[in-house]
């Protein structure tokens, strides 16, 4: 561990300042400078940030393996009594990986947005918000203490609200933005309580101090340790859309597609996973909470996948897919396979962002049509989109040797070898994998192949997207295809560079070690790959060979179909159970308490004074006689009084 104002510290500051500058520029003068400038500035700052991230990575590699941790205080922030918090940055392998992923994928999406939002009236506002988002996310991952991380945490929540509700004139979009922010807030309450508890326990909010002191201060499995870990996890549930706080993410698809790709696939939603990985020391001291994390992750994975199977809106399928994949990441954390989760976070960023971008490409070509029932047969017109889509689809289906295969199987292997409930978690994970490949193949087939069900618009024939959109997609496709090769596990003869790079971060005496026969891992991998392949084959069966089957199944299981299609009526449940009571209470408070109660009290006092004065007025007769009489009375009274004394 070293505190140095070295090149790394400078680079870290640059990485943060660049997107912030982009936000300020685009926000203040973007309108005047025109689209081209805004696009260049917006993408440029993020691109430069990515280059800085690469340099940071290179610098980090130059340090000794155990020494790769740089802490840098930018300024002293809060100094109140016992609370001394500085704006502290932490650069280590974990944050380096996150910074690379965030800045890299953001850059590609920024470039894509130049094309996608090309006709949008509020172009500069969009890029300003995007830059602000990137800044907040980078702040989150580079933060060296809980409070600064929370600033980034809230910042991404805010930008999510701003960007989901970007087309706020549309009521559904405005409401979706509200929903996202409010549900996030609920999670944030838990997070904040956890942070407060940490401060109360450790007297500091700095990561190095808290994690260093944790093993002594917190007894394993003590209620304090469990409580802290649980509260922090509540924040992750909200931010990363796990059950039961996932409801905002499907509605978040109201925002422009690049927003969905960036925020709700690659970056913001992964903040929860990053946080859990960062605080792994705390979680290792709270095994019951870890079990809960794994359970929630597994449950969410399979639950969301089931909903994604039947959705008709292209973006909703991908939204539920994101929730499901995030479940995988939490499953990985829950079984203490933290680097596997981060690995999956990275590969997921590649292929999920790509899936969203290809969906955006299709939506753009079909003049904002998002219903898959009105697509089909697009491949001949949009080959690049189609090819990159299928690369991403195979990656998410975890077909070797694409990236998703390595990351997902590492998680599943971690789950299997973890504890007694390991094998059942593995089964859930593998089955979810089959569902994943099914719904993504279904999406691909319905969109790109089969008979065209769309109608061409006379003035805009269906065509491939311009290079400013297809080049980022191609780059992501390449990453989705080969990105997994940095983490090939030993069982398959690889060196797992990724895992080894992250190892010092997670090297803690508390990490569980399990030994298993080496062949077992390979067998499990093969099984899960076959299961996923089965999912694809099933989709092909349902949608190409026997296309009448989906209709028949829908009819036969009508009620189940309805249930799943409508998100298990969870939104309705929340509306009835939480929203309506909340609205009723607000109504009551506004009308009865505020208008009648408080206003009534104030008005009542005024009325009281009024009536009192009405009564007292009578004394003022204007006749000197009466006044003289009163004076007399007073004098007599005073005389008596003084005589008495």
């Amino acid at each position: 561990m070293s505190h140095e104002v070295s090149s790394i510290a400078v680079l870290a500051r640059l990485i943060l300042v660049l997107p912030l500058a982009g936000y300020v520029l685009n926000g203040l003068v973007g309108e005047r400078w025109g689209r081209r400038a805004v696009g260049v500035i917006g993408s440029g700052v993020v691109g430069l940030a990515f280059l800085c991230a690469l340099m940071l990575f290179a610098q980090l590699l130059r340090l000794e393996e155990g020494q790769r941790q740089v802490i840098s205080d930018v300024f002293s922030w809060i100094g109140v009594g016992e609370l001394n918090v500085s704006a502290r940055l932490l650069v280590d392998p974990l944050s380096a990986v996150m910074v690379l992923v965030v800045s890299g994928v953001s850059f590609l999406i920024h470039v894509y947005s130049i094309g996608y939002m090309g006709r949008e009236a509020n172009f500069s506002r969009f890029f300003a918000y995007l830059n602000l988002f990137v800044f907040s996310m980078l702040l989150l991952v580079l933060a060296g203490n809980f409070l600064l991380m929370f600033v980034g945490w809230e910042g991404v929540g805010l930008c999510s609200y701003l960007l989901i509700g970007f087309w706020f004139e549309r009521e559904s979009a405005a409401r979706a933005g509200n929903k996202a922010f409010i549900v996030n807030r609920i999670g944030d309450l838990g997070f904040l309580l956890g942070v407060i508890l940490i401060f109360a326990t450790f007297g500091s909010l700095d990561f190095d101090k808290v994690f260093g002191a944790a093993p002594e201060v917190l007894k394993t499995s003590s209620s304090l340790a469990n409580l802290i870990a649980l509260l922090l996890f509540v924040g992750a549930i909200g931010k990363s859309a796990q059950v039961p706080l996932y409801i905002w993410l499907p509605d978040a698809m109201e925002g422009p597609t690049p927003v969905s790709a960036l925020i709700h696939a690659a970056t913001m939603v992964t903040a929860g996973v990053y946080m859990v990985a960062r605080c792994h020391v705390l979680y290792l001291l709270a095994p019951p909470v870890l079990i809960a994390v794994a359970a929630v992750g597994a449950l969410t994975a399979i639950y969301a996948a089931s909903i994604g199977l039947v959705q008709n809106d292209i973006k909703r399928v991908l939204a539920y897919s994101t929730i499901s994949q995030l479940g995988y990441m939490f499953l990985g954390c829950g079984v203490a396979a933290f680097s596997a989760s981060i690995f999956h976070l990275m590969t997921h960023a590649f292929f999920k962002a790509l899936l969203f971008l290809t969906a955006g490409s299709v939506i753009h070509a079909l003049a904002n049509e998002q219903d898959m029932r009105k697509m089909g047969g697009l491949y001949p017109y949009m080959r690049v989109t189609g090819v990159t889509f299928w690369v991403a689809a195979l990656a998410i289906s975890a077909i070797p040797p694409l990236s998703g295969f390595f990351s997902k199987d590492e998680i599943l292997w971690g789950a299997f070898s973890d504890s007694s409930l390991g094998p059942s978690l593995w089964v859930v994970g593998a089955f979810t994998g089959a569902m994943t490949s099914f719904y993504v193949a279904r999406l691909g087939i319905k969109t790109f192949h089969g008979k065209p069900r769309w109608t061409a618009h006379a003035n805009r024939p269906v065509h491939e997207s311009p290079p400013v959109m297809t080049v980022p997609m191609a780059v992501l496709g390449l990453l989705a295809a080969v990105g997994g090769l940095v983490g090939v596990p030993a069982a398959l003869g690889g060196r797992d560079n990724f895992g080894r790079f992250l190892e010092p971060v997670f090297a803690s005496p508390l990490m569980p070690h399990a030994a298993h026969p080496p062949g077992l891992e390979t067998i499990l991998m093969a099984v899960s790959a076959i299961v996923s392949l089965g999912g694809i084959v099933t989709a092909v069966y349902f949608y190409i060979w026997r296309p009448e089957l989906p209709g028949i199944v829908r009819e036969r299981f009508r009620r189940a179909y309805r249930l799943v299609l409508n998100n298990y009526y969870v939104d309705e449940g929340y509306a009835a159970g939480v929203v309506r009571p909340g609205e009723r209470m607000a109504d009551y408070l506004a009308q009865r308490v505020d208008a009648k109660g408080i206003d009534g009290a104030v008005n009542g006092i005024a009325a009281l004074v009024n009536s009192l004065s009405l009564a007292l007025r009578r004394w003022q007769t204007g006749l000197v006689r009466n006044y003289a009489f009163l004076i007399l009375i007073a004098i007599i009274a005073l005389l008596f009084y003084s005589i008495r004394r």
Partner: protein
Amino acid sequence: MMEAIPTGYCLFLSAILFTIGVVGFLTRRNAVLVFMCIEIMLNAVNLSFIAFARRLGSLDGQVAVLFVITVAAAEVAVGLSIIVALFRKRKTVDVDQIDLMKW
């Protein structure tokens, strides 16, 4: 020497005069009569002062009386001019009719 009048009698007379003055002041409607009653009260007080001065053998009481008489004279001058002005405006000296300061 003549026998001095007992102080008590003088005070008693003073009290009666004062009471007559007060009652008159509170009851009469004619402003001039109200003034006369004020004079009665003042004179009652003067009598009281003199009685005590005689009793205590001090001249302070007599000096006070001189003051009171002087002030009373000035006050009458001012007061009567007010009444004249009032009469010129309102054509009446009935105190009950002067109630502009009523609420």
